[in-house]
Symmetry: C2
Subunit: 795 residues, 2 copies
Amino acid sequence: MAALLFTSLLALAVHSAAQLAGRGFPDCQNGPLKNNTVCNTSADPLTRARALINALTLQEKLNNTGSDSPGVPRLGLPAYTWWQEALHGVASSPGVNFSDSGSFRYATSFPQPILMGAAFDDDLIRDVATVISTEARAFNNDDRAGLDFWTPNINPFKDSRWGRGQETPGEDPYHLSSYVYSLIEGLQGSPDDKYKRVVATCKHFVAYDMESWNGNFRYQWDAHVNPQDLVEYYMPPFQSCARDSNVGAFMCSYNSLNGVPTCADPYLLQTVLREHWNWTSEQQWVTSDCDAVQNVFLPHGYGKTREEAAALSLKAGTDVNCGTYYQEHLPAALEQGLINSTDLDTALIRQYSSLVRLGYFDGMAVPYRNLTWADVSTPYAQQLAKKAAVEGITLLKNDGLLPLKIDNGTKLALIGDWANATDQMLGNYDGIPPYYHSPLYAAQQTGATVNFAPYPGGQGDPTTDNWLHIWNAANQSDVIVYAGGLDNSVEAEGMDRVSIAWTGAQLDVIGQLAMYGKPVIVLQMGGGQLDSSPIANNPNISALLWGGYPGQDGGSALFDIIQGKSAPAGRLPTTQYPADYIAKVPMTDMTLRPNATSGSPGRTYIWYQGKPIYEFGYGLHYTNFTASLGSSNSSSSPYSTSSLIGNCTEAYKDRCAFKTFNVAVKNTGSVQSDYVTLGFLAGQHGPAPYPNKRLVSYQRLHNITAGSTQTAALNLTLGSLARVDGMGNTVLYPGDYALLIDTQPLAMVNFTLTGDPVVLDHWPQPPTPRFQTTDYFVGGYGSTYGDQLLIDGTI
Amino acid sequence: MAALLFTSLLALAVHSAAQLAGRGFPDCQNGPLKNNTVCNTSADPLTRARALINALTLQEKLNNTGSDSPGVPRLGLPAYTWWQEALHGVASSPGVNFSDSGSFRYATSFPQPILMGAAFDDDLIRDVATVISTEARAFNNDDRAGLDFWTPNINPFKDSRWGRGQETPGEDPYHLSSYVYSLIEGLQGSPDDKYKRVVATCKHFVAYDMESWNGNFRYQWDAHVNPQDLVEYYMPPFQSCARDSNVGAFMCSYNSLNGVPTCADPYLLQTVLREHWNWTSEQQWVTSDCDAVQNVFLPHGYGKTREEAAALSLKAGTDVNCGTYYQEHLPAALEQGLINSTDLDTALIRQYSSLVRLGYFDGMAVPYRNLTWADVSTPYAQQLAKKAAVEGITLLKNDGLLPLKIDNGTKLALIGDWANATDQMLGNYDGIPPYYHSPLYAAQQTGATVNFAPYPGGQGDPTTDNWLHIWNAANQSDVIVYAGGLDNSVEAEGMDRVSIAWTGAQLDVIGQLAMYGKPVIVLQMGGGQLDSSPIANNPNISALLWGGYPGQDGGSALFDIIQGKSAPAGRLPTTQYPADYIAKVPMTDMTLRPNATSGSPGRTYIWYQGKPIYEFGYGLHYTNFTASLGSSNSSSSPYSTSSLIGNCTEAYKDRCAFKTFNVAVKNTGSVQSDYVTLGFLAGQHGPAPYPNKRLVSYQRLHNITAGSTQTAALNLTLGSLARVDGMGNTVLYPGDYALLIDTQPLAMVNFTLTGDPVVLDHWPQPPTPRFQTTDYFVGGYGSTYGDQLLIDGTI
């Protein structure tokens, strides 16, 4: 067997990213493929792709199963890298090649999704994504990027510790579903367009939200999730991607779900994704997370041999293997009869018909082929990057100090390791921005005298070595701004946080700064929330702003808010828990509901039973708002479930309209401001326990001038009302409902549903239950080690 | 209060490491101090230091309380940095300044202590430490280092996860005590010398052996240790340092012990250290770990105010504050009456009398002042660095492949991310070595054709991207060497490991290499142990060597062993546990004994009830040995405890001799080899439960030629026999004893003690019990969060 294995390997040419440079497009005019149907623009994508794949030898097919496809030189099919990143702008990644100088040396770097999520502005997201896909096409035209982007990360951010929560728009599944719909429209364009702008990839499917916790690693961790939590919380963003947005690609995750690695799970990739969600276009494909197929063998230990692990993954529906495991082990799998040529064809046809749909074979007929370096980092894009940051920045505390007049008579202390942030502002999956406008840069633009001390180095050792500089800066100033919190040294891919408290060194410095008797403003930066109660409770600290990872113009955005050039209207997209919260819930506990036995107080604002420091949706303004639902919103309660469903003609019943509530929002203060209209649903309906409330609609209103009123239209569907039963079915239940406007409700309306429960969506059950219901949470801190790497067999 | 605080601060000049360069020595010939008694070489150190401190103003005293002392320009007292490092060679640190070129651009870099511990050769350690102190003096003479070195780290390495375990010689308290005695002799010279070579610093006092585990951080963690475990396990190396070696300095640790931060604990620093251990020379001082005084306030929250935390630390006996907290907050403490001038004098006199003892004020009268760059990295030192590595490298598996003939006809694959190691070989607290002789370098020196593939990048993501290079290298070779394991990316200061298994990617690659049917040798590198059972159990892997962090010549040492130029005789200084061990014992569990309630199977070979993969003391040879105790060792059993104690005239009863056992060790094989004679004591005596066994003596025999015999003399004292009771008293108990030679005993002798128990050492009790006995272990994974940073008060 060994001989067979390695003989096959020898047939595979070694290739590297460097060799793939200069990939270009296939030449359908004069190249060897010119007479192949793949070059026939009047044929449909499936037919074209089939023709191409039919022209490949078996070895050529095997060669092109990884994320770096060598192509087929014989046919003039260029090498192609499937792996590009663009989480918040075209990003450094295997397929993206920034220039060292001149054109294409940078791209617009927007805020991290966690801050863009705080804007609660789907139009903004569509605009941002459109800029990203435009710049991506410009890079592609210069042979500096492919057309497939492995973004967005749309796993809900349910645990503050998660190092990659920053990549997501927040913790709420409705919010994520709505956000990602707009995002994909911006990235891919309209589904009706002949050519996709680029292909987006919804990841990580599914229940992936832990990097490394207490001996559990993402590469080997088995998430135990019951059907109710799965459908109600973990699945909605992916349903939005697949069923509603028709996204071009999915990525299966490192973890396994209820015993089966997701990349080798036909229930997930075929039954749920392709069949239940009707994600069956020939142009849609699944990639593994990088080397997740290798992980199917080790550490998951799911296949008996390496070739079996690879075969199980391919047959389950993982079309592309990020890495080389397919290339290395599918040859032996083929020789052993674990896969056949048709399995390879299925995967390759999906990939290449997707490229057809991108116009890869169509030359200059593709309108996006005209985009150039002039379309990158345009004034509009730069302004949009700043706007996105401004919209997301969230005001958590203000004793009236803000907005603050700053001019060249102001002496400003700017302290903390975020004060002169560069890369820090971008967060992870970043590219190269045109500039870094740090808080220090922005402070200096105000004309103020800025006394700057970049200490303490917040995340590492508490070192007092340079603290004298801090006191000098504070002594020389009239106003003190402290910029700290978190950064990617403590929350990152592969690294979850082990504390959600501010570091002792930062609190010590902030506490001493508060003793000066001068106005103090704290900027809480980073993606995951920190327990800011010591700052909230200190009467000598005037203001607290959360700034996330604000991108290339983040400092300017922060100082626009501080000075009142823009008014804050961001809302927290995640719950800010007290620091001891994480002692009560292991990261490995995937359940959402509070649990007396395990001691979990529940997860997310939907279920958490404790008192948050700042709740999901919290955010102050520089003005005051009232909201009213008005008489036109008076409900026709009670509604009968049978008539609601009887009037519903959609294929997917949850999409049917229930009612649009018009919310009149009045700015009763003196400062023009945006306002995010949040609609939460509460009440006793469906299976107990009942959630605290859940977001069902939102709309950001823009530039409401002082004294004026704007109206938000909150569209509720039958899906908004529905809840999920123990089998994962989505059901419209009779019972009492209340729609609440905002976190501390400014308005509300009650209504009632009567009649029998009606199933809106029958959830497909896995072929065999892999766990008993009582096993869904492998509880406690000790036993969670059961999933760590324990390999005692032969390797 | 705030105004007072910051007024005082303004009086303190800002200084930095850069400004401290060019410190030099005080000029006792012509400088302002020439008539001060400190310059009178015939006065005793205490008198001289007192005279100096008497000449200082109060502000000058306050200025000189930190690790960077600005000195007193008015008096010609130079600035001085107390913080130098030299864990395994003169190391990069605030007080050490390597040159960019020319002289003093490097220093000898020995293996990490964990590998030198594996040599079980105290003479070697003394030789190594003598080279280090020689090179340190040469650096000092060129104004490139001070004379105080914050080494050794002598906390026992009881948990494989500990990121800094690599800095220690291992897990056994007797071994550490014996090792550190020789080390300090080499660093400081004989206690009778007029001038110390340098001052060593035993750290971290005490019960510090965790960086960051599950929300517990070293800066805030409260170690709960009962008196029995404390005296029996955590204290012995420190007793050796203080009482037996008269080390010049101690460092208190970040953690608290039973509720009190060690740097603010008069029980530890005065009652135990200075009084019980008679560590009362005026030349001995305690430094805080860096910023540990800041941590007394936050996150420990031990003082009500910052100035109280600083005052409590100074009065407890922390003489030097690494950092600036003393400089910043003692002024206010003084004004508030929390300390007085005498408290400052006590600390400063200790520091400066230590400098007197180093000859700091005595000019060229100090013999070490003649050492120069010519005394750094001498041929002897280079040879010793290699010898230290060779002596420590431990052979764990060998099917007869080793020693292996390698010549220019050999085709050797060298694979793995340690293959071309540079910095990796040094571990942490490293300096700049004269060269890095990596495994690749050493392999190339053999004349063999070396096919090199530095993959997988073992510690990070499992990426298969470059695996084809691995198979190419293996295909082209006759013998495969895989060099991997751990490095400082996963075990480091501030970072404990969360797994003790090999990564899945490394195991996958090793497993595939084993399928080639070619000889495979695995080098397990790094400090903490890994569960190597998949390698041990794979019949297609011939040999496994543990190489730790082998220093500047580590690759050569490894290949000397592989080729048989040297024979392996190292022994594991820590237990190699199965991977699931860490699921059974929280890092925060400081108890050693097995515990049915908590589920702990016990810690270290002394108490562990499970089957280790490789046990403490394990190590194979290229030859065979027999050992015999001979008739001269026949015991005069039974011994009466009263007569044993009656014949004892030492002030410290545990030091009295019991008996020297002479062990005749015969090399019955055909290869010359060293042999480490390990003497373990077992038997039923003292309080139950009884340990499995415990190391009481060891001696490394050198170069035993084939067929010949050498004799090891194992000296047992009354302390060797004694055990510790529940109050921490050291007691000689009646009962049965067995002395076992080696891990799988080659010889043994039994004896009996009769009579009443006799207390050899009455352990001083803390003033008030801080915990009830049953509280010593705050058990379980959930409740251990109790010590994390939870700050809800005003900051």
